[in-house]
Amino acid sequence: MSTTVGSPRGVVKVESREVTRAEVEDFLYREAQLLDEWRLDEWLTLIEPGGRLEVPTTDWAGWDATTAGYFVADDYELIQARVKRLKSRKAHAENPHSRTHRMISNVLLLEAGAETVWISANFLIHRYRDGGAYTYVGRYEHVLKVDPDGLRFRLRRAVPVMESMDPGARLSFIL
């Protein structure tokens, strides 16, 4: 069963289970809270083993991470390494941690697969560090694995819409 990209719905069916926009929103809000509070171990449980974390570059025109340069192209092992790194006091770029404040909106259910749902959402992240304020604006394009009792990331892709990473606006935290 699949809907068509471009005609998003408030509810889709994945196997015998219904996924609603409210459920996806709750999932994304919960994730934002874990990231803003730097609860990275809990955050990691939201990623399906074998899942991917991607941030394409700002000139992105739909290329996948096997054919074009990216900012982040982590397989599951690298996601784990990233979390381990960010928890270390020796991750200098995030010691002390950035303060982040995430807003998520415009959540759309795009298409249902056999066991997944593709969703998109807009994000606005304010980050503060060293007296600087940075704004990251973009769109999430996620593939979520639909479990009987919840959702997990199969692909977590944050697409920045800025023209470039502004001065100081590196991606040392999870976008």
Binding site: D59, T66, G69, Y70, A73, H92, S164, G168, R170
Partner: protein, 457 residues
């Protein structure tokens, strides 16, 4: 003892480089990173009068392809004209100066100015001039209104350089021994090399010279990249500082040759690359030997390299290859552009491994570069502490590590600061910054680069 050689002192700051071979001391005055006046002098004396890296030919493969890009603060159009020739124009309409092309990339036969609709062909001729009856009926008028080409453009192994001064020496003269190391990277692919789309564009709150220093500084690797070194160790690869050297290639160009640093896709295998890649490394090495001969193959394959081409190009020939370009924006801000440089025609699985591996290290989202950025942004913030300090002796940065070794004429190590010293010497020469030298510098100048079969294996 002190043979003071003050070259034109810059402003009131006096000497900016303090080199003392008795005390084995090399210091750079911190205003060099801070002072807007120094920055303006750099843009004038370096960016306006030296070869600059513009981009790679493979970014504009087809006739009509173009990219817009800023170099030394000047907006440019980097394009391939209808005849396939690579060109660089100032991106400003000859009529009244409007930025002519406001797209970052594309393909076009004509660049048309939106203001009064003048149109220029992609080889620069003025092709359309609305209401031309009000202009002199004279071909010379049209010719005089052709798009302004950058005075010099030369290409080495696909790397396109431009100069805003027509009187610069030939590109190969400027590159000197650095040309050879650029050629080594170009020889990796059996079917050539290409840049990939997906350009990392980012900006750093730091002086451009801090980015150069960071790239030429092996000393910071272990402490700054502690978490990355830990990750490598966990994947079964131990990093070592042994047998890693720094070379002064002259002209401000520098080279680090690294063996224990990291593996290289297709060249030096390490466990995190997986078994498929292990077999390919063996095959690839055979291919290189057959094509290039054993000596050149060894040079290409066996060592990692970080090459700095004065003033704005860095080639990171590490796990994979990254081209990085520096664009100074202000004394305390640098724009960076970085491309993945890959073998043409390599299998998709290798391409994916290459991209994954490289971006796990480099770029603002990697596991290592953010710590570099943190380091030089922190320098930029820290050095304001001693500006106009009560004791002026505090306002200097120290780069004397390894000077005793250098004085003995030994090959500099990558974990010393010799590559930075040679960069700063050239910098001072070009910008006309004051230098004070005391004591006797080492007599023999070290070799311009690792000789075949020499250090670095």
């Amino acid at each position: 003892m002190a043979q003071q050689t003050p070259v034109r002192p810059l402003g009131a700051a006096g000497a900016m480089i303090d080199e003392d071979w008795e005390a084995l001391r090399f210091r750079v005055h911190r205003s060099a990173y801070r002072d807007p006046e120094v920055f303006r002098t750099e843009v004038d004396r370096i960016w306006n009068h030296t070869w600059l890296y513009l981009g790679h030919e493979t970014e504009i493969p087809k006739a009509g392809d173009f990219k817009t890009r800023t170099l030394g603060g000047r907006p440019l159009i980097f394009c391939r004209d209808a005849d396939g020739q690579v060109r660089a124009f100032f991106n400003a309409c000859t009529h009244r100066g409007t930025v002519l092309c406001r797209h970052s990339e594309g393909n076009t036969k004509f660049f048309q100015c939106f203001y009064h609709a003048w149109a220029f062909s992609n080889s620069g001729e003025l092709a359309a001039l609305p209401g031309d009856d009000a202009y002199p009926d004279d071909p010379a008028f049209r010719a005089s209104m052709a798009l302004r080409q950058v005075p010099r453009l030369q290409i080495h192994e696909g790397f396109v350089f431009v100069a805003f001064d027509p009187d610069v020496p030939d590109l190969l003269t400027h590159l000197g021994p650095a040309a050879h190391y650029m050629s080594l990277t170009a020889k990796i692919g059996e079917h050539g090399m290409t840049t990939l789309p997906g350009v990392q564009l980012y900006s750093v709150k730091g002086n451009w010279k801090l980015a150069v220093e960071n790239a030429m500084d092996g000393y910071h690797f272990a402490p700054t990249h502690n978490t990355f070194v830990g990750y490598l160790r966990e994947t079964g690869f131990a990093v070592t500082d042994d047998d890693q050297y720094a070379y002064d290639l002259g002209g401000g160009h520098g080279l680090l040759v690294l063996t224990g640093h990291n593996g290289r896709i297709g060249m030096v295998w390490e466990p995190r690359f997986g078994d498929e890649e292990k077999a390919r490394t063996v095959t690839k090495r055979r291919e290189l030997e057959a094509r290039l001969g054993p000596e050149l193959a060894a040079e290409v394959a066996d060592a990692s390299r970080i090459l700095f081409v004065f003033p704005n190009l860095l080639l990171f020939d590490l796990e994979a290859l990254t081209i990085r370009q520096l664009e100074p924006v202000a004394a305390d801000r640098t724009d960076v552009r970085a491309w993945q440089f890959v073998e043409v025609g390599e299998p998709e699985s290798v391409r994916a491994l290459r991209i994954k591996t490289m971006v796990s290290f480099v770029g603002p989202g990697g596991l290592a570069t953010p710590d570099d950025i943190e380091a030089y942004e922190a320098v930029q913030r820290g050095i304001t502490a001693t500006a106009d300090a009560v004791d002026p002796a505090h306002d200097w940065s120290d780069m004397s590590r390894g000077m005793a070794n250098e004085k003995q004429g030994n090959q500099g190590r990558s974990i010393d600061e010799g590559a930075m010293r040679s960069f700063w010497r050239r910098w001072a020469e070009v910008v006309g910054a004051g230098t004070s030298v005391a004591g006797d510098p080492p007599a023999g100048t070290p070799a311009a680069g690792p000789t075949s079969g020499g250090a670095g294996r």
